[in-house]
């Protein structure tokens, strides 16, 4: 425990998550709801808590409001107390200029004053973007045992994915001998997970030398490559479940991983903690399953009322699936209503959506990619933004995006074709 307490956590939670499209258009990626009861940042915060870490700086930037509401004072993760705390660190005006964070290293550099207050031995730098369970205490212990200046968590990824990561080459002892940031034709498939344990003094020196002289602003691109060979860099290997959920398809897949512990994602055994009191969620009644309901392979949160069919899906609190409705391979967020006789298939419904009676959402030809955002949506999934309304009898195809608040009742047509986007 001693090792963990000497470590200050800097949690990067400013991620834009642009490939999540409208799911992250009004909230930072770490605040995107996940797994029927959580937000993505809960996984990192729960890891912090279960690793015995008690001091956290939370670096926010992009649309931080739902995130700040959610984190509150930090009591949900035991971060309130005399020696415990979580402090929100938004971008701030410096002496010379107003600076938005220009990268991960810049965000930490601009908050050196915060770290100075605590004079930690080590700094653990994380992002709040990933779904995983990891014991940071073991990583910190390994860092100390090896006397490293920097320890980077790494995992083996498929070669075809290496272009999305910083990758490193290690010798047999685990010492990092090469590090290269995202590029095609990688020389290693040992990917950096963006989790760093820095010796505090080394961190200050390196950030001052690189960011302080405005030569670079990013850990993976600018800071770490220059440390190889000059500093003691070690890799801490991780081989458990870890997902970036950076795309709509990976988001749906990872949610469905919650349905089967064999996937490696086990919410119960991971003991993920969340702020259940946020907007009164904790007081929702139990789940009610009606006489003619069918529920199979599903994760269902409190306050849901199931009168129809729910298969291979994740339902957040307060969802109502009316009689005769079916929900297949879907993620449905809080307080959405799936009307009587309607069908929702391979879709993601943000909060408070309404699907009218006998409406159809998500059926069509998945080869037709979304016309506006083909890079985000070409895998046969439809996404309804927060408070979108699909009227009775209406049909929304696949690869469709309905923007938040759009009411298709006002649409002249009775359907939204495959690949179409409904804008406000």
């Amino acid at each position: 425990m001693r090792a963990a307490r000497d470590t200050l956590v800097m949690l990067l939670a400013g991620g834009v998550g642009s490939r999540l499209n409208i799911l992250a258009s009004r909230r930072a990626k770490p605040a995107v709801p996940f797994g029927g009861a959580y937000r993505i940042i809960d996984f990192a915060l729960s890891n912090v808590m279960h690793s015995g870490l008690v001091r956290v700086g939370l670096l926010t930037q992009y649309k931080p409001f739902s995130l700040m509401d959610h984190v509150g004072a930090g009591e949900s993760w035991d971060l309130v107390g005399r020696e415990r705390g979580i402090k929100v660190l938004p971008p701030h005006t410096g002496e010379k200029e107003s600076d938005w964070y220009k990268g991960t290293a810049d965000a930490v550099f601009q908050n050196l004053w915060f770290m100075e207050d605590y004079q930690p031995d080590k700094v653990l730098i994380l992002s709040g973007d990933h779904i995983y369970r990891m014991d940071y205490e073991a990583m910190i212990a390994a860092h100390e045992a090896r006397g490293a200046d920097l320890t980077i968590a790494g995992m083996t990824v498929p070669w075809e994915d290496t272009h999305r990561f910083g990758v490193m080459v290690c010798d047999e002892a685990g010492e990092i001998t090469a590090f290269e940031e995202k590029r095609p034709g990688a020389t290693s498939n040992l990917a950096s997970m963006g989790i760093y344990v820095f010796d505090y003094r080394v961190l200050v020196e390196e950030l001052s030398a690189i960011v302080g002289t405005r030569r670079g602003f990013d850990f993976g691109k600018d800071v770490i490559p220059g440390m190889v060979g000059r500093r003691a860099l070690h890799c801490f290997r991780f081989d458990g479940y870890w997902r970036d959920v950076g795309t709509i398809e990976s988001y749906l897949d990872a949610n469905r991983d919650c349905l089967d512990a064999a996937s490696g994602l086990n919410l119960a055994s991971w003991r993920v903690c969340t702020n259940a009191d946020e907007i009164g969620r904790g007081d929702r009644p139990p789940i009610s399953v009606a006489r003619r309901a069918k529920v199979a392979n599903a994760l269902i949160a409190r306050g849901c009322r199931i009168e129809g069919e729910v298969v291979s899906s994740v339902l957040f609190p307060g969802v109502h699936v009316a009689a005769g409705a079916s929900v297949h391979d879907a993620v449905v967020m809080s307080d959405s209503v799936v009307g009587p006789g309607s069908r929702v298939t391979r879709s993601i419904l943000d909060k408070q959506c309404v699907v009218g009676a006998k409406a159809i959402v998500g059926e069509g030809d998945r080869r037709v990619a979304n016309r506006v955002s083909p890079m985000h949506l070409d895998c046969g999934i439809t996404v309804l933004g927060k408070q979108a309304i699909v009227p009775a009898g209406f049909s929304v195809g696949t690869n469709c995006i309905v923007h938040p608040g759009v009411d298709l009742t006002h649409s002249p047509a009775r359907q939204l074709d495959d690949g179409e986007t409904a804008l406000p």
Binding site: G36, A276, D283, R302
Partner: protein, 421 residues
């Protein structure tokens, strides 16, 4: 510091008729409808009715109740002018006084009430289930300039003898109040919710201390106030109300929530302390690919791979593949192993049912030791009792808490039997 109304919740009673369910907790702390405890209903009513100060009278084994109440924050009772205070018995100057009755319990805590100099004192039972807005009651009380307003509910005449009943005149004034009369003159039953003018309450309780013998509000204070001409009025509550006085009553009330005309829990806005015992938040309920679940109420943290019908499951209940649960109430953390069948049973928290065990079902047999409280044939299993693989427990059996598997060496508990600790 002032408050117009001080709420006093009577939450200390064991209620022996619930047998093993109240072995280690007062009735107000008994779980109901998956995630609630009885006390939640009174506290939620107080909260939603804008009563800012509540004293809670606890006596019998208060540990689980105190844990559940925490600092009152689940009911928003934290703030400069808002508080929920647990009032336990304390030693007086003369001797150690346990509460001798409801009137005595309130009397011993009049200093708490006086501290706020309230106009009214609302006394409510903490072990009833209802959704009641007390504000119209307060308005009526003021309009009629009452000394006491008793909340009543119309019940079937044949059940009226179980209650205190009141005869009202055309203005709603109580002409006569009788407690559990063999042939009641009225079908308006008292729900043990009393709104008193604070000064009258203090005077009548002091008098009761001098002249009473049972120190009960219902049998001594109320009848005397009516008889001596105090302004005592009735206020008739419409809507669901449940007491669950016996194990049969508890079983029926538990399954009430599945009926078509069930109370709308979301609409009631019942609040509870979901974090009271959690080392981690329960994840959403997980339903397996081959499971079957219908007509049931299920809480977060449950994992259902088997068959569940017409049942109420509290958080963290596991029903393994191939197991069957029918018409049953399973409290927090129960585990039903593969091949086991649980039918018409109440399992208190953390009961485990081994593989292929058979609990309940078949012909309904009354419990032989307690036929007056358990005649429905339901099986009742006390907290953390472990029923081994292959064991059969007959209809109407009652099993004490904390019984280990070794006690079931015969592999059989006869219908109607009671297994003592």
């Amino acid at each position: 510091m002032g408050a117009q109304i001080v709420g006093m919740v009577l939450a200390g009673g064991r209620v022996d008729e619930l047998l093993v369910l109240t072995a280690k907790r007062p009735k107000s702390a008994v779980p109901i409808w998956g995630m609630y405890r009885f006390i939640d209903f009174a506290l939620s009513n107080m909260m939603h009715s804008g009563i800012d100060v509540v004293g809670l009278l606890s006596q019998y084994r208060p540990y689980s109740l105190n844990t559940h109440l925490a600092n009152g924050s689940p009911w928003d009772y934290v703030g400069r002018r808002r508080q929920l205070k647990v009032l336990s018995p304390y030693s007086g100057s003369a001797d150690t006084d346990w509460y001798r009755g409801t009137a005595d319990a309130i009397w011993q805590n009049l200093n708490f009430v006086d501290h706020f100099s309230p106009e009214l004192v609302l006394i409510a039972s903490g072990d009833h289930v209802s959704s009641m807005d007390y504000r119209p009651l307060v308005r009526q009380h003021r309009t009629t300039q009452a000394d006491l307003t008793i909340v009543l509910k119309r019940v079937p005449q044949e059940q009226a003898a179980q209650y205190g009943t009141a005869v009202l005149d055309g203005d709603g004034r109580v002409l006569r109040y009788e407690e559990k009369a063999p042939k009641p003159a009225s079908d308006l039953a008292s729900l043990t919710v009393y709104l008193f003018a604070a000064d009258v309450l203090a005077r009548r309780l002091e008098e009761n201390q001098r002249e009473g013998s049972a120190f009960q509000l219902y049998s001594e204070v109320l009848p005397r106030m009516v008889a001596e001409g105090d302004r005592v009025f009735g206020y008739v509550h419409e809507g669901y109300w449940q007491y669950a006085r016996t194990l049969d009553g508890y079983y029926d009330a538990s399954l009430d929530i599945l009926r078509p005309q069930a109370p709308d829990l979301a609409g009631w806005q019942v609040r509870t302390n979901v974090a009271a015992t959690a080392s981690a938040d329960p994840p959403p309920a997980l339903f397996g690919a081959d499971g079957l679940i219908v007509d049931s109420l299920v809480c977060a943290g449950c994992s259902i791979a088997g068959e569940v019908r017409s049942s109420v499951l509290s958080p963290w209940v596991t029903v393994e593949r191939g197991a069957v649960v029918r018409s049953s109430v399973l409290m927090d953390g129960c585990h039903v192993a593969a091949g086991a069948v649980v039918e018409r049973a109440i399992l208190d928290k953390q009961v485990t049912v081994g593989r292929d065990a058979r609990i309940g079902g078949g012909k309904a047999v009354a419990n032989r030791s307690h036929p007056d409280v358990l005649a429905s044939g339901a099986v009742v299993v006390g907290k953390a009792t472990r029923i081994p693989a292959g064991c059969e427990v007959g209809s109407g059996a009652v099993l004490a808490p904390d019984i280990g598997e070794a006690r079931f060496a015969g592999g059989h508990v006869a219908a109607g039997a009671t297994v003592e600790p």
